[in-house]
């Protein structure tokens, strides 16, 4: 993204190849198995001796000029690069595209440097050359820094931490808490749980269907008049569990349906949610 080696606009029309970014192309491998990089004839490394892309090859060629990177001749470097690529082609080595892109770009740079200067051109060939040089310096600096870093006394290779440290730990010590009430309540619960089992089947707060059936049938008797179902519910004292009332309504309704099904009662409702009316079945009526 911060690729400053991007060719200027004129370059784009002059050579479509050069519009491609001459840098940032090849991908690289991550962990090398020991000394295996040369054995597998990876087409990407194409016998180019394992250069990681054209900038890497350029840096290596620049170093062969045996001068400070700030003083290298870019023209010589371009010639060396193009010579190398031509040589590789002559040997029918398969060259990765990015090396060729770089070759085209460098050939264009060389032509700019040799031709009479066009003052309109921005950036000019000097700037392109200088930027290339700056990039080579930066890559060279990092490559050197990397090798100095790797040559340091490394933990686990040259220097060692203690082989069998005892380790220091923070022991969590639990302080258990419980109160006397917890204790006697727990005991009470056990005692209650295991008290001599006297099963008293408690009456649940429900009106069973059997109960309702018997009751509704009895109250309905032979009534010829319509009776509101609610009038047939058992009466509870004030404050009684409301669930009991609901249960009575539900089972009485079910009982009414059952009686109707048996042909012993008739049911009528004038409207949705209107009171449900009930009367004894009229003989053949």
């Amino acid at each position: 993204m911060t690729n400053t080696g991007a060719p200027p606009d004129p370059l784009a029309t002059a050579d479509p190849l050069a519009t491609a970014d001459p840098f940032a192309t090849a991908e690289d491998a991550d962990w090398l198995p020991l000394a295996a990089a040369h054995d597998d004839d990876d087409a990407l490394y194409l016998e180019l001796d394992g250069w990681e892309g054209p900038l890497d090859l350029l840096l290596d060629l620049a170093r062969r000029q045996k001068v400070d990177l700030r003083r290298i001749s870019i023209l010589d470097l371009v010639d060396q690069y193009l010579g190398y690529i031509n040589h590789a082609r002559a040997l029918r080595l398969e060259l990765a595209a990015d090396y060729l892109v770089m070759a085209a770009w460098l050939a264009y740079l060389k032509s700019l440097m040799l031709l009479p200067r066009d003052p309109e051109m921005q950036p000019g060939p000097e700037e392109l050359a200088l930027r290339l040089q700056l990039r080579l310096q930066r890559l060279g600096a990092m490559r050197e820094a990397a090798s100095r870093l790797m040559a340091r006394d490394r933990l686990g290779r040259d220097v060692f931490a203690r082989g069998a440290p005892e380790g220091i730990t923070i022991a969590r010590h639990s302080r258990w808490t419980a109160g006397l009430f917890d204790l006697i309540q727990a005991y009470g619960a056990i005692k209650a749980r295991n008290a001599p089992v006297v099963h008293v089947v408690r009456e649940r707060p429900v009106i069973t269907l059997e109960f309702a059936l018997e009751r509704v049938a009895r109250l309905l008797g032979v009534a010829r008049d319509w009776v509101d179902l609610r009038m047939l519910l058992p009466r509870f004292e004030a404050g009684a569990d409301p669930r009991l009332t609901r249960s009575a309504l539900a089972s009485s309704f079910a009982a009414a349906l059952e009686l109707a099904k048996q042909g012993r009662a008739e049911i009528a409702q004038d409207d949705v949610f209107a009171p449900l009316r009930l009367r004894a079945a009229q003989a053949n009526g």
Binding site: G163, I168, T177, A178, I184, P234
Partner: protein
């Protein structure tokens, strides 16, 4: 430091430090190209004698270890209040009311198995101890409460534990169902009306 003896001492020191297991003098010597390491080991052991780390021999093998008086530094204690589990407090209650009891008896009273860890927790808390073995088949271990138990629960003696009658009066012996019903406010059954 330029003394070759010192270099050997340093090499032995580093070898023992980096090793992940105690080493015999022969193993150390093997590491160091067959040098005679006996004196160097003696020198090192003497050097470390007063320090926070000692060079010690165990069964012919040497290794560094924390000075015994500083071993407590390796474990920093941190106290965390934790509530007893329901199983633990029930087991504790049974022990308190019935002691001494065996694990089988605790389980018989609780009606469920008691995990091994439950009694460990009570012993770790210092409230229960092993009170011997019962002279019965299998000679099971029996458990009882400790003075620390009484102290923690504010009891002068086990006789201060409320008796069954008091528990009943406090409603703590009510069967679970009726206790639940009382809480839910349910009327006992529909009245039989006319």
């Amino acid at each position: 430091m330029a003394d070759p003896d010192d270099d050997l001492v340093r090499a032995v020191e580093a070898t023992l430090f980096a090793s992940d297991m105690p080493l015999t003098p022969a193993e150390i010597a093997l590491h160091l190209g067959g040098a005679a390491v006996h004196d160097a080991i003696e020198q090192l052991a003497a050097h470390y004698a007063g320090r926070g780390v000692h060079l010690v021999e165990r069964g012919g093998r040497w290794h560094f270890q924390t000075a015994p008086d500083l071993a407590h530094l390796l474990r920093r204690e941190r106290e965390e209040p934790r509530r007893l589990s329901r199983a633990a407090i029930e087991a504790l209650a049974i022990i308190a009311y019935h002691e001494p009891v065996s694990r089988a008896e605790i389980e018989a009273i609780r009606g469920v198995q008691t995990a091994r860890g439950t009694l460990d927790v009570l012993m770790e808390a210092g409230w229960v101890h092993i009170a011997g073995r019962r002279e019965s088949p299998g000679r099971p271990t029996i458990y009882a409460t400790t003075p620390a138990f009484l102290a923690h629960f504010g009891l002068a003696s086990r006789r201060d534990l409320p008796g069954i009658d008091e528990l009943r009066a406090a409603g703590l012996l009510d069967p679970v169902d009726s206790a639940y019903a009382a809480l839910a406010g349910v009327m006992p059954g529909p009245e039989s009306d006319e």
